[in-house]
Protein backbone atom coordinates (compact mmCIF):
# COMPACT_ATOMS: atom_id res chain seq x y z
CA UNK A 1 0.00 0.00 0.00
CA UNK A 2 2.82 2.37 0.96
CA UNK A 3 6.57 2.29 0.49
CA UNK A 4 9.42 4.46 1.75
CA UNK A 5 10.49 6.82 -1.01
CA UNK A 6 13.94 6.35 -2.48
CA UNK A 7 14.97 9.87 -1.48
CA UNK A 8 13.96 9.47 2.16
CA UNK A 9 16.61 10.61 4.62
CA UNK A 10 18.86 7.82 5.83
CA UNK A 11 17.70 6.37 9.12
CA UNK A 12 18.94 3.74 11.53
CA UNK A 13 17.18 0.39 11.31
CA UNK A 14 15.37 -1.23 14.21
CA UNK A 15 13.89 -4.68 14.62
CA UNK A 16 10.31 -4.97 15.79
CA UNK A 17 8.39 -8.19 16.29
CA UNK A 18 5.00 -8.28 14.62
CA UNK A 19 2.77 -11.27 15.38
CA UNK A 20 5.95 -13.13 16.26
CA UNK A 21 7.72 -12.24 13.03
CA UNK A 22 10.84 -10.01 12.99
CA UNK A 23 10.53 -6.94 10.79
CA UNK A 24 13.24 -4.35 9.99
CA UNK A 25 11.90 -0.81 10.16
CA UNK A 26 13.40 2.69 10.10
CA UNK A 27 13.92 4.38 13.45
CA UNK A 28 11.90 7.47 14.33
CA UNK A 29 8.66 6.58 12.57
CA UNK A 30 5.30 5.67 14.05
CA UNK A 31 4.29 2.05 14.46
CA UNK A 32 1.61 2.62 11.82
CA UNK A 33 4.14 4.03 9.35
CA UNK A 34 6.53 1.17 10.10
CA UNK A 35 3.86 -1.46 9.54
CA UNK A 36 2.51 0.18 6.40
CA UNK A 37 6.01 0.68 5.01
CA UNK A 38 6.70 -3.00 5.62
CA UNK A 39 3.70 -3.96 3.55
CA UNK A 40 0.89 -4.30 6.06
CA UNK A 41 -2.60 -3.50 4.83
CA UNK A 42 -4.81 -4.64 7.66
CA UNK A 43 -3.92 -3.66 11.20
CA UNK A 44 -6.56 -5.61 13.02
CA UNK A 45 -10.22 -6.43 13.24
CA UNK A 46 -13.05 -3.97 13.72
CA UNK A 47 -14.36 -4.64 17.24
CA UNK A 48 -18.02 -5.04 16.33
CA UNK A 49 -18.00 -7.12 13.16
CA UNK A 50 -14.51 -8.57 13.27
CA UNK A 51 -14.01 -7.38 9.68
CA UNK A 52 -10.50 -6.41 8.58
CA UNK A 53 -9.66 -2.84 9.43
CA UNK A 54 -6.91 -0.49 8.28
CA UNK A 55 -5.89 3.02 9.23
CA UNK A 56 -7.94 6.10 8.26
CA UNK A 57 -6.81 9.43 9.72
CA UNK A 58 -3.24 8.60 10.78
CA UNK A 59 -3.25 11.61 13.09
CA UNK A 60 -4.50 10.05 16.29
CA UNK A 61 -8.18 10.94 16.14
CA UNK A 62 -10.05 8.06 14.49
CA UNK A 63 -8.79 5.11 16.60
CA UNK A 64 -8.87 2.85 13.57
CA UNK A 65 -5.24 1.78 13.86
CA UNK A 66 -5.41 0.11 17.27
CA UNK A 67 -2.82 -2.58 17.89
CA UNK A 68 -1.32 -4.26 20.93
CA UNK A 69 2.11 -2.85 21.79
CA UNK A 70 4.35 -4.56 24.37
CA UNK A 71 1.35 -6.19 25.96
CA UNK A 72 -0.78 -3.05 26.13
CA UNK A 73 -3.89 -3.44 23.97
CA UNK A 74 -5.65 -0.78 21.92
CA UNK A 75 -2.72 1.53 21.37
CA UNK A 76 -2.97 3.91 18.43
CA UNK A 77 -0.22 2.68 16.09
CA UNK A 78 -0.04 6.13 14.51
CA UNK A 79 0.67 7.80 17.85
CA UNK A 80 3.50 5.57 19.10
CA UNK A 81 7.08 5.72 17.81
CA UNK A 82 8.84 2.42 17.13
CA UNK A 83 11.41 1.17 19.63
CA UNK A 84 13.91 -1.64 19.18
CA UNK A 85 12.46 -5.05 20.11
CA UNK A 86 8.94 -3.63 20.39
CA UNK A 87 6.38 -6.46 20.30
CA UNK A 88 3.27 -5.76 18.26
CA UNK A 89 0.20 -7.92 17.91
CA UNK A 90 -2.15 -7.20 15.02
CA UNK A 91 -4.41 -10.21 15.07
CA UNK A 92 -6.67 -10.16 18.10
CA UNK A 93 -6.50 -13.37 20.09
CA UNK A 94 -10.25 -13.94 20.06
CA UNK A 95 -11.50 -12.98 16.65
CA UNK A 96 -15.22 -12.34 16.12
CA UNK A 97 -17.16 -14.43 13.57
CA UNK A 98 -15.44 -12.86 10.53
CA UNK A 99 -12.51 -14.70 8.91
CA UNK A 100 -9.08 -14.15 10.46
CA UNK A 101 -7.28 -11.14 9.11
CA UNK A 102 -4.11 -11.59 7.17
CA UNK A 103 -2.32 -8.35 8.02
CA UNK A 104 -0.01 -8.60 5.05
CA UNK A 105 -2.81 -8.81 2.50
CA UNK A 106 -3.15 -11.29 -0.36
CA UNK A 107 0.00 -12.13 -2.24
CA UNK A 108 2.39 -10.74 0.38
Amino acid sequence: MFVRHATAAAAATLTIIVDGREVQVPAGVSVAAALLGAGAVVLGAAPVSGRPRGPWCLMGTCFGCLVEIDGVPDERACAVTVRDAMRIVLTPAAAAPAPACDPWGPGA
Partner: protein, 464 residues
Amino acid sequence: MRAAIAARRHGADVLVLDERAAPGGQIWRDVETPAFGDARTLGDDYAHGASLVAEFRSCGAQYRPGTLVWDVSRDRVLRIAGDPGAHSVEATRIVVASGAIERPFPVPGWTLPGVVAAGGAQALLKSAALVPAGPVVLAGTGALLLLLAWQYLRLGVPLAAVLETTPRGSAWRSAARLPGALAAGGYVVKGLRMLHAIRSAGVMHLRGVQALRALGERRLERVEYRAQGRDAAIDAQLLLLHQGVVPDVNLTMALGCAHDWDAGQLCLRPRTDAWGNTDIEGVALAGDGAGIAGAACAGLAGELSGLEAAHRLGRIGRAERDRLAAAPRAALARSLRVRPFLEALHRPRDDDRVPRGDDVIVCRCEEVRAGTVRAEIARGAADPNAIKSRTRCGMGPCQGRYCGLTVTEMIAAARGMAQDAVGYFRIRPPIKPIPLADLLALDRGEAPPEVALPGTRAQAPVQR
Protein backbone atom coordinates in the same frame (compact mmCIF):
# COMPACT_ATOMS: atom_id res chain seq x y z
CA MET B 1 3.11 28.56 18.55
CA ARG B 2 2.35 32.14 17.53
CA ALA B 3 0.19 32.65 20.60
CA ALA B 4 3.01 31.45 22.84
CA ILE B 5 5.58 33.62 21.09
CA ALA B 6 3.37 36.72 21.32
CA ALA B 7 2.52 36.18 24.98
CA ARG B 8 6.16 35.48 25.86
CA ARG B 9 7.29 38.64 24.13
CA HIS B 10 5.39 40.58 26.78
CA GLY B 11 6.66 38.56 29.68
CA ALA B 12 3.81 36.16 30.30
CA ASP B 13 4.66 32.75 31.76
CA VAL B 14 3.61 30.28 29.14
CA LEU B 15 3.17 26.52 29.28
CA VAL B 16 2.41 24.71 26.03
CA LEU B 17 0.86 21.24 26.23
CA ASP B 18 1.19 19.34 22.96
CA GLU B 19 -0.30 15.91 22.37
CA ARG B 20 2.29 15.28 19.69
CA ALA B 21 5.96 14.60 20.29
CA ALA B 22 7.29 17.72 18.54
CA PRO B 23 5.98 21.16 17.56
CA GLY B 24 4.32 21.74 14.22
CA GLY B 25 0.84 20.28 14.58
CA GLN B 26 -0.40 18.61 11.41
CA ILE B 27 0.57 21.27 8.87
CA TRP B 28 4.24 21.33 9.88
CA ARG B 29 4.37 17.81 11.19
CA ASP B 30 7.92 16.66 11.86
CA VAL B 31 9.35 19.72 10.11
CA GLU B 32 12.28 19.73 12.58
CA THR B 33 13.28 16.24 11.45
CA PRO B 34 12.13 16.15 7.84
CA ALA B 35 11.67 12.62 6.59
CA PHE B 36 13.16 13.59 3.22
CA GLY B 37 16.13 15.33 4.79
CA ASP B 38 15.19 18.60 3.09
CA ALA B 39 11.77 19.95 4.04
CA ARG B 40 11.54 21.80 0.72
CA THR B 41 10.94 18.45 -0.99
CA LEU B 42 7.34 18.83 0.16
CA GLY B 43 7.05 22.47 -0.88
CA ASP B 44 7.92 25.89 0.50
CA ASP B 45 4.82 26.21 2.68
CA TYR B 46 5.89 23.13 4.61
CA ALA B 47 9.55 24.14 4.75
CA HIS B 48 8.75 27.57 6.16
CA GLY B 49 7.33 25.94 9.25
CA ALA B 50 10.87 25.18 10.40
CA SER B 51 11.64 28.81 11.19
CA LEU B 52 8.40 29.21 13.13
CA VAL B 53 9.15 26.09 15.14
CA ALA B 54 12.65 27.35 15.87
CA GLU B 55 11.26 30.69 17.01
CA PHE B 56 8.80 28.88 19.25
CA ARG B 57 11.52 26.69 20.75
CA SER B 58 13.52 29.74 21.75
CA CYS B 59 10.71 32.01 22.96
CA GLY B 60 10.96 30.87 26.57
CA ALA B 61 7.67 29.01 26.81
CA GLN B 62 7.70 25.73 28.75
CA TYR B 63 6.95 22.99 26.25
CA ARG B 64 5.50 19.61 27.27
CA PRO B 65 5.20 17.27 24.29
CA GLY B 66 3.44 13.92 24.47
CA THR B 67 0.87 15.43 26.83
CA LEU B 68 -2.82 14.93 26.21
CA VAL B 69 -5.25 17.45 27.65
CA TRP B 70 -8.29 15.28 28.22
CA ASP B 71 -10.47 17.76 30.05
CA VAL B 72 -10.65 21.46 30.77
CA SER B 73 -13.02 22.75 33.41
CA ARG B 74 -14.73 26.10 33.40
CA ASP B 75 -12.45 27.25 36.19
CA ARG B 76 -9.48 26.51 33.96
CA VAL B 77 -8.14 23.30 35.44
CA LEU B 78 -6.62 21.18 32.69
CA ARG B 79 -6.48 17.42 33.22
CA ILE B 80 -3.51 15.94 31.44
CA ALA B 81 -2.18 12.48 30.65
CA GLY B 82 1.23 11.39 29.47
CA ASP B 83 3.25 13.65 31.72
CA PRO B 84 4.93 11.70 34.51
CA GLY B 85 5.14 14.72 36.77
CA ALA B 86 1.62 16.08 36.83
CA HIS B 87 -1.97 15.08 36.26
CA SER B 88 -3.51 18.52 36.25
CA VAL B 89 -2.54 22.12 35.79
CA GLU B 90 -4.46 25.21 36.75
CA ALA B 91 -4.11 28.24 34.55
CA THR B 92 -5.10 31.88 34.67
CA ARG B 93 -5.61 32.00 30.95
CA ILE B 94 -5.93 29.26 28.33
CA VAL B 95 -5.56 29.35 24.56
CA VAL B 96 -6.83 26.18 22.92
CA ALA B 97 -5.48 25.31 19.49
CA SER B 98 -7.03 21.92 18.91
CA GLY B 99 -6.89 22.21 15.15
CA ALA B 100 -8.87 20.42 12.50
CA ILE B 101 -9.66 16.87 11.46
CA GLU B 102 -10.76 15.33 8.18
CA ARG B 103 -14.41 15.79 7.35
CA PRO B 104 -16.20 12.45 7.33
CA PHE B 105 -16.58 10.99 3.84
CA PRO B 106 -19.30 8.36 4.15
CA VAL B 107 -19.32 6.60 0.80
CA PRO B 108 -19.86 2.86 0.32
CA GLY B 109 -16.72 0.97 1.33
CA TRP B 110 -14.95 3.88 3.02
CA THR B 111 -14.00 1.66 5.94
CA LEU B 112 -12.19 -0.92 3.80
CA PRO B 113 -8.46 -1.37 4.40
CA GLY B 114 -6.81 0.56 1.61
CA VAL B 115 -9.14 3.55 1.89
CA VAL B 116 -7.21 6.24 3.74
CA ALA B 117 -7.85 9.91 4.43
CA ALA B 118 -5.71 12.06 2.13
CA GLY B 119 -4.56 14.03 5.17
CA GLY B 120 -3.45 10.77 6.71
CA ALA B 121 -1.45 9.87 3.62
CA GLN B 122 0.12 13.29 3.78
CA ALA B 123 1.01 12.67 7.44
CA LEU B 124 2.79 9.48 6.37
CA LEU B 125 4.63 11.48 3.73
CA LYS B 126 5.82 14.12 6.18
CA SER B 127 6.66 11.77 9.03
CA ALA B 128 8.08 8.75 7.28
CA ALA B 129 8.57 9.62 3.60
CA LEU B 130 5.96 6.99 2.70
CA VAL B 131 4.41 7.16 -0.75
CA PRO B 132 1.86 4.91 -2.44
CA ALA B 133 3.37 1.60 -3.53
CA GLY B 134 1.03 1.06 -6.45
CA PRO B 135 -1.76 2.72 -8.39
CA VAL B 136 -3.45 5.32 -6.19
CA VAL B 137 -6.72 7.16 -6.70
CA LEU B 138 -7.25 10.54 -5.06
CA ALA B 139 -10.91 11.46 -4.71
CA GLY B 140 -12.97 14.24 -3.24
CA THR B 141 -12.45 17.97 -3.16
CA GLY B 142 -10.25 20.51 -1.46
CA ALA B 143 -6.88 22.19 -1.57
CA LEU B 144 -5.24 19.40 0.44
CA LEU B 145 -6.17 16.84 -2.20
CA LEU B 146 -4.53 18.91 -4.94
CA LEU B 147 -1.52 19.70 -2.77
CA LEU B 148 -0.97 16.01 -2.07
CA ALA B 149 -1.28 15.19 -5.76
CA TRP B 150 1.33 17.88 -6.50
CA GLN B 151 3.65 16.58 -3.79
CA TYR B 152 3.39 13.01 -5.10
CA LEU B 153 3.99 14.06 -8.71
CA ARG B 154 7.11 15.99 -7.68
CA LEU B 155 8.37 12.78 -6.12
CA GLY B 156 7.69 10.78 -9.25
CA VAL B 157 4.77 8.88 -7.75
CA PRO B 158 2.35 7.81 -10.48
CA LEU B 159 -1.30 8.67 -9.85
CA ALA B 160 -4.02 6.50 -11.34
CA ALA B 161 -6.58 9.29 -11.19
CA VAL B 162 -7.69 12.45 -9.45
CA LEU B 163 -11.48 12.30 -9.10
CA GLU B 164 -12.83 15.63 -8.00
CA THR B 165 -16.33 15.63 -6.65
CA THR B 166 -16.46 19.39 -7.17
CA PRO B 167 -19.23 19.95 -9.68
CA ARG B 168 -17.95 20.92 -13.12
CA GLY B 169 -18.17 24.63 -13.68
CA SER B 170 -17.99 25.41 -10.00
CA ALA B 171 -14.92 27.52 -10.61
CA TRP B 172 -17.04 29.73 -12.84
CA ARG B 173 -19.89 29.79 -10.34
CA SER B 174 -17.40 30.79 -7.65
CA ALA B 175 -16.07 33.54 -9.91
CA ALA B 176 -18.10 36.19 -8.12
CA ARG B 177 -15.89 35.56 -5.10
CA LEU B 178 -12.69 35.61 -7.09
CA PRO B 179 -11.72 39.24 -6.42
CA GLY B 180 -11.58 38.47 -2.73
CA ALA B 181 -9.51 35.42 -3.44
CA LEU B 182 -7.05 37.36 -5.53
CA ALA B 183 -6.81 40.08 -2.90
CA ALA B 184 -5.90 37.46 -0.32
CA GLY B 185 -2.68 36.85 -2.20
CA GLY B 186 -1.07 33.68 -3.44
CA TYR B 187 -3.85 31.17 -3.02
CA VAL B 188 -5.20 31.23 -6.56
CA VAL B 189 -1.73 31.12 -8.08
CA LYS B 190 -0.78 28.16 -5.90
CA GLY B 191 -3.95 26.34 -6.87
CA LEU B 192 -3.38 26.93 -10.56
CA ARG B 193 0.19 25.68 -10.27
CA MET B 194 -1.02 22.44 -8.70
CA LEU B 195 -3.66 21.96 -11.37
CA HIS B 196 -1.06 22.59 -14.06
CA ALA B 197 1.25 19.97 -12.59
CA ILE B 198 -1.54 17.42 -12.62
CA ARG B 199 -2.40 18.25 -16.21
CA SER B 200 1.21 18.19 -17.41
CA ALA B 201 1.75 14.80 -15.88
CA GLY B 202 -1.14 13.46 -17.92
CA VAL B 203 -2.98 12.23 -14.85
CA MET B 204 -6.63 11.40 -15.45
CA HIS B 205 -8.37 14.29 -13.72
CA LEU B 206 -12.15 14.35 -13.68
CA ARG B 207 -14.55 16.82 -12.14
CA GLY B 208 -18.18 16.42 -11.23
CA VAL B 209 -17.55 12.90 -9.95
CA GLN B 210 -20.49 11.27 -8.23
CA ALA B 211 -21.49 7.94 -6.75
CA LEU B 212 -18.02 7.09 -5.43
CA ARG B 213 -17.78 3.61 -4.03
CA ALA B 214 -14.89 1.52 -2.77
CA LEU B 215 -15.14 -2.19 -3.41
CA GLY B 216 -13.20 -5.21 -2.24
CA GLU B 217 -13.48 -8.35 -0.20
CA ARG B 218 -11.08 -7.80 2.69
CA ARG B 219 -9.25 -4.78 1.29
CA LEU B 220 -9.80 -2.22 -1.46
CA GLU B 221 -9.64 -3.69 -4.94
CA ARG B 222 -11.61 -1.31 -7.13
CA VAL B 223 -13.01 2.24 -7.12
CA GLU B 224 -16.28 2.88 -8.95
CA TYR B 225 -17.73 6.28 -9.79
CA ARG B 226 -19.89 8.16 -12.21
CA ALA B 227 -18.56 11.08 -14.25
CA GLN B 228 -19.73 12.82 -17.40
CA GLY B 229 -22.86 10.70 -17.39
CA ARG B 230 -21.00 7.38 -17.49
CA ASP B 231 -20.27 4.78 -14.85
CA ALA B 232 -16.64 3.78 -14.65
CA ALA B 233 -14.23 1.84 -12.47
CA ILE B 234 -10.52 1.85 -11.68
CA ASP B 235 -8.60 -1.03 -10.19
CA ALA B 236 -6.69 0.28 -7.20
CA GLN B 237 -5.42 -0.86 -3.84
CA LEU B 238 -5.21 2.61 -2.37
CA LEU B 239 -7.91 5.28 -2.39
CA LEU B 240 -7.20 8.59 -0.71
CA LEU B 241 -10.36 10.43 0.21
CA HIS B 242 -10.70 14.05 1.24
CA GLN B 243 -13.49 16.60 1.25
CA GLY B 244 -12.11 19.29 3.48
CA VAL B 245 -11.24 19.60 7.14
CA VAL B 246 -13.46 20.64 10.03
CA PRO B 247 -12.69 21.90 13.53
CA ASP B 248 -12.03 19.20 16.12
CA VAL B 249 -14.68 20.44 18.54
CA ASN B 250 -14.53 17.74 21.19
CA LEU B 251 -12.55 19.76 23.71
CA THR B 252 -14.56 22.93 23.20
CA MET B 253 -17.77 20.91 23.41
CA ALA B 254 -16.64 19.22 26.63
CA LEU B 255 -15.78 22.66 28.00
CA GLY B 256 -19.31 23.82 27.26
CA CYS B 257 -18.43 26.54 24.75
CA ALA B 258 -21.20 27.71 22.50
CA HIS B 259 -20.97 26.42 18.92
CA ASP B 260 -22.70 27.64 15.79
CA TRP B 261 -23.30 26.04 12.43
CA ASP B 262 -21.26 27.74 9.72
CA ALA B 263 -23.21 27.55 6.46
CA GLY B 264 -20.17 28.30 4.31
CA GLN B 265 -17.93 25.74 5.98
CA LEU B 266 -20.77 23.25 6.57
CA CYS B 267 -19.63 22.42 10.08
CA LEU B 268 -19.95 23.47 13.68
CA ARG B 269 -17.48 25.96 15.02
CA PRO B 270 -17.01 27.40 18.50
CA ARG B 271 -18.22 30.95 19.02
CA THR B 272 -15.37 33.44 19.52
CA ASP B 273 -14.88 37.17 19.47
CA ALA B 274 -12.25 39.05 17.50
CA TRP B 275 -9.56 38.05 20.02
CA GLY B 276 -10.48 34.39 20.09
CA ASN B 277 -12.25 34.67 23.43
CA THR B 278 -15.00 32.10 23.95
CA ASP B 279 -18.02 32.59 26.18
CA ILE B 280 -16.03 30.97 28.99
CA GLU B 281 -14.00 33.35 31.13
CA GLY B 282 -10.29 33.01 30.51
CA VAL B 283 -10.54 30.53 27.64
CA ALA B 284 -9.68 31.55 24.10
CA LEU B 285 -9.22 29.67 20.83
CA ALA B 286 -6.90 30.12 17.91
CA GLY B 287 -6.42 28.38 14.60
CA ASP B 288 -8.52 25.94 12.65
CA GLY B 289 -10.09 24.62 15.86
CA ALA B 290 -12.09 27.84 15.92
CA GLY B 291 -13.11 27.65 12.26
CA ILE B 292 -11.34 26.61 9.10
CA ALA B 293 -9.15 29.35 7.69
CA GLY B 294 -5.83 27.68 6.92
CA ALA B 295 -2.29 27.93 8.22
CA ALA B 296 -1.58 31.60 7.58
CA CYS B 297 -4.76 32.69 9.34
CA ALA B 298 -4.09 30.28 12.20
CA GLY B 299 -0.78 31.96 12.93
CA LEU B 300 -2.30 35.44 12.81
CA ALA B 301 -5.20 34.43 15.03
CA GLY B 302 -2.65 32.90 17.38
CA GLU B 303 -0.75 36.14 17.55
CA LEU B 304 -3.93 38.05 18.38
CA SER B 305 -4.86 35.60 21.12
CA GLY B 306 -1.35 35.85 22.52
CA LEU B 307 -1.61 39.64 22.66
CA GLU B 308 -5.01 39.35 24.31
CA ALA B 309 -3.57 36.93 26.86
CA ALA B 310 -0.72 39.32 27.62
CA HIS B 311 -3.28 42.07 28.08
CA ARG B 312 -5.61 40.03 30.31
CA LEU B 313 -2.64 38.97 32.43
CA GLY B 314 -1.80 42.61 32.97
CA ARG B 315 1.39 42.64 30.90
CA ILE B 316 0.25 45.23 28.37
CA GLY B 317 -2.47 47.85 28.43
CA ARG B 318 -5.46 47.91 26.13
CA ALA B 319 -4.11 50.65 23.90
CA GLU B 320 -0.77 48.84 23.55
CA ARG B 321 -2.57 45.61 22.72
CA ASP B 322 -4.65 47.30 20.06
CA ARG B 323 -1.63 49.04 18.56
CA LEU B 324 0.33 45.77 18.32
CA ALA B 325 -2.69 43.92 16.96
CA ALA B 326 -3.29 46.30 14.07
CA ALA B 327 -0.89 44.68 11.61
CA PRO B 328 -1.80 41.04 12.26
CA ARG B 329 -5.48 41.94 12.25
CA ALA B 330 -5.18 43.59 8.85
CA ALA B 331 -3.23 40.62 7.50
CA LEU B 332 -5.84 38.25 8.90
CA ALA B 333 -8.68 40.17 7.28
CA ARG B 334 -6.84 40.09 3.98
CA SER B 335 -6.16 36.34 4.14
CA LEU B 336 -9.74 35.59 5.15
CA ARG B 337 -10.98 37.11 1.91
CA VAL B 338 -10.08 33.92 0.05
CA ARG B 339 -12.35 31.76 2.18
CA PRO B 340 -15.69 32.39 0.43
CA PHE B 341 -14.08 31.50 -2.89
CA LEU B 342 -12.43 28.32 -1.57
CA GLU B 343 -15.56 27.32 0.31
CA ALA B 344 -17.65 27.65 -2.85
CA LEU B 345 -15.04 26.03 -5.07
CA HIS B 346 -14.51 23.04 -2.77
CA ARG B 347 -17.97 22.63 -1.34
CA PRO B 348 -18.46 18.95 -0.46
CA ARG B 349 -21.51 17.53 -2.23
CA ASP B 350 -24.71 16.92 -0.30
CA ASP B 351 -24.71 13.23 -1.26
CA ASP B 352 -21.15 12.84 -0.01
CA ARG B 353 -22.11 14.27 3.40
CA VAL B 354 -25.52 12.69 3.79
CA PRO B 355 -25.25 9.17 2.35
CA ARG B 356 -28.21 7.98 0.32
CA GLY B 357 -27.58 4.26 0.55
CA ASP B 358 -28.66 2.41 3.67
CA ASP B 359 -25.55 0.24 3.69
CA VAL B 360 -23.04 3.06 4.03
CA ILE B 361 -21.29 3.07 7.38
CA VAL B 362 -21.96 6.29 9.28
CA CYS B 363 -20.18 5.44 12.55
CA ARG B 364 -16.85 3.76 11.82
CA CYS B 365 -16.12 2.81 15.42
CA GLU B 366 -19.42 1.07 16.11
CA GLU B 367 -20.07 0.17 12.45
CA VAL B 368 -23.54 1.74 12.45
CA ARG B 369 -25.03 2.01 8.98
CA ALA B 370 -27.04 4.87 7.48
CA GLY B 371 -30.17 2.72 7.28
CA THR B 372 -30.12 2.17 11.04
CA VAL B 373 -29.79 5.88 11.71
CA ARG B 374 -32.56 6.71 9.25
CA ALA B 375 -34.86 4.12 10.81
CA GLU B 376 -34.46 5.76 14.21
CA ILE B 377 -35.08 9.20 12.76
CA ALA B 378 -38.25 7.80 11.21
CA ARG B 379 -39.19 6.40 14.65
CA GLY B 380 -38.99 9.89 16.06
CA ALA B 381 -35.35 10.44 17.08
CA ALA B 382 -34.95 14.16 16.51
CA ASP B 383 -31.57 14.89 18.01
CA PRO B 384 -28.15 13.30 17.76
CA ASN B 385 -28.15 12.12 21.38
CA ALA B 386 -31.27 10.07 20.78
CA ILE B 387 -29.53 8.50 17.79
CA LYS B 388 -26.48 7.90 19.97
CA SER B 389 -28.34 6.13 22.74
CA ARG B 390 -30.46 4.06 20.36
CA THR B 391 -27.77 2.99 17.91
CA ARG B 392 -24.41 3.51 19.69
CA CYS B 393 -23.46 5.93 16.93
CA GLY B 394 -20.87 8.24 18.42
CA MET B 395 -20.07 6.04 21.41
CA GLY B 396 -16.81 4.66 20.07
CA PRO B 397 -13.30 5.85 20.86
CA CYS B 398 -13.33 8.62 18.26
CA GLN B 399 -16.27 10.10 20.21
CA GLY B 400 -18.17 11.30 17.19
CA ARG B 401 -15.29 12.99 15.40
CA TYR B 402 -15.99 10.99 12.22
CA CYS B 403 -19.76 10.59 12.46
CA GLY B 404 -21.07 13.59 14.40
CA LEU B 405 -21.48 15.91 11.45
CA THR B 406 -23.02 13.12 9.38
CA VAL B 407 -25.63 12.39 12.05
CA THR B 408 -26.47 16.07 12.53
CA GLU B 409 -26.85 16.56 8.79
CA MET B 410 -28.89 13.36 8.35
CA ILE B 411 -31.40 14.53 10.95
CA ALA B 412 -31.47 18.03 9.45
CA ALA B 413 -32.08 16.65 5.98
CA ALA B 414 -34.71 14.12 7.04
CA ARG B 415 -36.65 16.55 9.19
CA GLY B 416 -36.14 19.74 7.22
CA MET B 417 -34.45 21.38 10.20
CA ALA B 418 -31.52 23.76 10.39
CA GLN B 419 -28.33 22.11 11.61
CA ASP B 420 -28.14 24.59 14.51
CA ALA B 421 -31.57 23.46 15.65
CA VAL B 422 -30.58 19.79 15.42
CA GLY B 423 -27.55 20.18 17.66
CA TYR B 424 -24.67 17.75 18.13
CA PHE B 425 -23.64 14.82 20.29
CA ARG B 426 -23.13 15.69 23.92
CA ILE B 427 -19.39 15.38 24.37
CA ARG B 428 -17.97 14.58 27.79
CA PRO B 429 -14.44 14.20 29.10
CA PRO B 430 -12.12 12.42 28.66
CA ILE B 431 -12.04 13.71 25.12
CA LYS B 432 -9.75 10.83 24.19
CA PRO B 433 -9.39 7.50 25.98
CA ILE B 434 -6.99 7.55 28.90
CA PRO B 435 -5.67 4.71 31.05
CA LEU B 436 -7.62 4.10 34.23
CA ALA B 437 -4.38 4.64 36.13
CA ASP B 438 -4.48 8.32 35.17
CA LEU B 439 -7.96 8.76 36.64
CA LEU B 440 -7.06 6.85 39.79
CA ALA B 441 -3.89 8.83 40.32
CA LEU B 442 -5.90 12.02 40.09
CA ASP B 443 -8.33 10.85 42.70
CA ARG B 444 -5.71 9.62 45.14
CA GLY B 445 -3.51 12.67 44.62
CA GLU B 446 -0.60 10.39 43.75
CA ALA B 447 2.47 11.72 42.00
CA PRO B 448 1.80 15.16 43.42
CA PRO B 449 2.13 17.84 40.80
CA GLU B 450 5.51 19.46 40.75
CA VAL B 451 6.18 22.82 42.33
CA ALA B 452 3.79 25.33 40.87
CA LEU B 453 4.84 26.50 37.45
CA PRO B 454 5.00 30.30 37.32
CA GLY B 455 1.65 31.68 36.26
CA THR B 456 -0.20 28.47 37.15
CA ARG B 457 -1.44 27.02 40.39
CA ALA B 458 -0.63 23.35 40.87
CA GLN B 459 -3.66 21.32 41.84
CA ALA B 460 -3.47 20.30 45.50
CA PRO B 461 -3.61 16.54 46.15
CA VAL B 462 -6.97 15.33 47.38
CA GLN B 463 -6.87 14.63 51.11
CA ARG B 464 -8.67 11.51 52.30
